[in-house]
Point group: C2
Chain length 153, copies 2
DNA sequence: CAGAATCCTCTTTGATACTG
DNA sequence: CAGTATCAAAGAGGATTCTG
């Protein structure tokens, strides 16, 4: 009997792996871009600098908290700049940095693929869901499949 | 006095906006790719088909639950296929579909940018954090800044 | 105007135990 | 082997209130 249980050893391995995972730059970038309002903010700033209020309007879906937090993260990453003009009332402008602009071609590739293939994804989903609902229906009719069909949503 | 409060109107506008947001294919794709284990799974399957257990090993950071759920989502999206061989014990193979493979060039662009620029992002973060910690330090010394500096973590 | 702070809810993720 | 089911913890996100 060792000092650590099998569960502990597995957990350790997992933690070690997560470090390596966190170090993967592709993942780090995708996680950032996948955040809820990042793509929209970048898209809006592609057209030029924007004041905070302008962003809040054009991205009306985001709460004030999320908008501010997301902008801060992007500023921290050096992808956009925040310029405060200490007038009364204050004025804050956000703009893409050169680093942020360098990301745009990549985003355009993503957009291109998405626009060309998202319909295929949607139809794949429909097919997958149809098949599942029909299968569980059969289960009920013939009583052959005891495994639950609880997924209605 | 109108029937709805300003808060309600804002909330309505937000909900309407979220619909349009959800319909944006770029966002939908980025959210999918930004999910915690998606990029790793796709990367692994780039090398060829993999059995469930093989994926579980090479992506040891993911819990069994997350791995299964993520694989299912990707299968549902038509990005990968799941082939069940009803032997004893059962055998399940995952592989990229043509649709999934068509995504690889896009991912390579993302990887290329990430590898070239993630260092810049890291140094931007360091600079940002340094500046902030120095600023709040000054505040304490001179007592000019009453706004809390509670963020130690 | 452009946030900061606080409270609270819903979703995501992981650990654990069980199964065909 | 390849999952499913359940529960608990963590985190994301939103509503609200207050401020320089």
């Amino acid at each position: 009997m060792t000092t650590r249980t099998a569960a502990q050893r597995r957990s350790d391995a997992r933690i070690a792996h997560q470090d390596r995972f966190a170090a993967c730059s592709t993942n780090r970038l995708l996680e950032r871009l996948g955040e809820k309002w990042v793509a929209l903010i970048l898209k809006e700033l592609t057209e030029g600098p924007r004041r905070y209020g302008e962003l809040a309007q054009s991205i009306a879906g985001a709460s004030q908290k999320m908008l501010t937090e997301t902008l801060r993260r992007l500023e921290r990453d050096g992808l956009l700049s925040r310029t405060l003009t200490p007038s009364v009332p204050v004025r804050v402008d956000y703009a893409l940095t050169p680093l942020g602009r360098s990301l745009l071609p990549v985003l355009r590739e993503v957009t291109r693929w998405a626009e060309q293939n998202m319909a295929a994804i949607d139809s794949a989903r429909t097919g997958y869901d149809d098949q599942r609902s029909r299968a569980s229906h059969d289960d009920e009719q013939r009583g052959t499949g005891p495994h639950g069909r609880r997924g209605q949503g």
